[in-house]
């Protein structure tokens, strides 16, 4: 390995260290499957490493990585639909289990219960969203990316991103309003 390769490897290593948790978190929230999120995260960074020399910095590293992760996730579900004779069961946790993780700031038992209920309702709404709406919603309200970054990561226009966000928020609002 020559000096240029070593330097690129070191650079990529720091990219992995700084961005891996966020990519994993997005994939975990998208799939609710720890094993799958871990596998897709590894595939994402493997693919990024192979293409690291082609990354020209037109977008941020985070947006570029997120785009790879979104495409891998799409490929995974497409392959899964095609290979229907394979394992049909997923390891995704159910909504109740996902709602067990509560915001750390809630002190009293009552507040924790209310927070758990709210989180469960949002998970339920997220579960009912289309793949694209879910992706846009999670990127905006969990990863807190800018609309332009979401557009870049998903390959959609900003207008389309806004429309998906609006519909997703509408569903969340309806669910929160309907079950109060």
């Amino acid at each position: 390995m020559d000096t240029a390769d070593e330097s690129a490897a070191q650079e990529f290593s720091s990219v992995v260290t700084s961005h891996r948790p966020q990519i994993f978190r997005f994939l975990l929230a998208s799939t609710r499957d720890v094993d799958l999120a871990e596998t897709l995260t590894q595939e994402c960074f493997l693919k990024a490493f192979r293409n690291w020399s082609n990354f020209r910095g037109d977008s941020s590293v985070m947006t570029w990585l997120m785009r790879i992760a979104i495409n891998l996730q799409k490929d995974h579900w497409r392959n899964r639909r095609m290979q229907f004779w394979r394992q049909t069961r997923t390891n995704a946790v159910d909504l109740d289990e996902a709602s067990d993780w509560l915001p750390s700031g809630e002190s009293s038992a009552e507040k924790q219960l209310l927070a758990r209920e709210r989180v469960g309702q949002v998970w339920q709404a997220v579960d009912e969203l289309s793949d694209r709406q879910r992706t846009v919603f999670l990127l905006r309200y969990v990863e807190e990316l800018e609309l332009s970054e979401i557009a870049c990561a998903t390959g959609l226009s900003e207008g389309t991103v806004k429309a998906h966000l609006s519909r997703a928020l509408g569903k969340v609002r309806t669910l929160l309003g309907g079950e109060r």
């Binding site: 978190r25 975990l28 709210r118 998970w123 905006r140 800018e146 929160l176």
Partner: protein, 138 residues
């Protein structure tokens, strides 16, 4: 809670308080879950082993089914050939037996006719026949 406020999307303030609270809780819940899972020791080797075992079991099952289907087909074909061979042999034996019976019947008939023809003499010629018999004895 306030430390998240600075990081929130710019359209955050346009949301109603209930939705704002729910989205904030949801975000923190996902972050907490992800951090907890991320900091756990990896168990990838177990998963891989489990998947490899499942794959091997799948292949073994498929192989057993394939071998079973092939064996069944071969046995069925062999069985049919054997049945056909026995039926053909039985048919041939029956034919041979029938032919032998017919040949015997024909032979008996001819012998009977021959005997009848050779021994029966019209009554008017019986004295002559007795004379011929007496000459033959001499």
């Amino acid at each position: 809670m306030d430390k998240f406020k600075a990081e929130r999307p710019e359209d955050w303030e346009a949301l109603d308080p209930v939705l704002k609270q729910a989205l904030g809780d949801f975000k923190q819940s996902v972050h907490a879950w992800s951090e907890a899972v991320y900091s756990q020791p990896r168990t990838v080797h177990l998963t891989v082993a489990h998947r490899a075992w499942r794959l091997a079991a799948g292949w073994a099952m498929a192989s057993v089914l394939l071998v079973g289907a092939l064996s069944g087909g071969v046995y069925e074909r062999h069985h049919q050939q054997e049945v056909a061979r026995i039926a053909a042999a039985r048919e041939a034996a029956q034919q041979r037996q029938l032919a032998a019976e017919r040949a015997q019947e024909e032979e008996d008939l001819l012998a009977r006719v021959d005997s009848d023809v050779s021994r029966e003499v019209p009554s008017a010629m019986e004295p002559l026949a007795s004379l011929m018999a007496a000459d033959e004895t001499k």
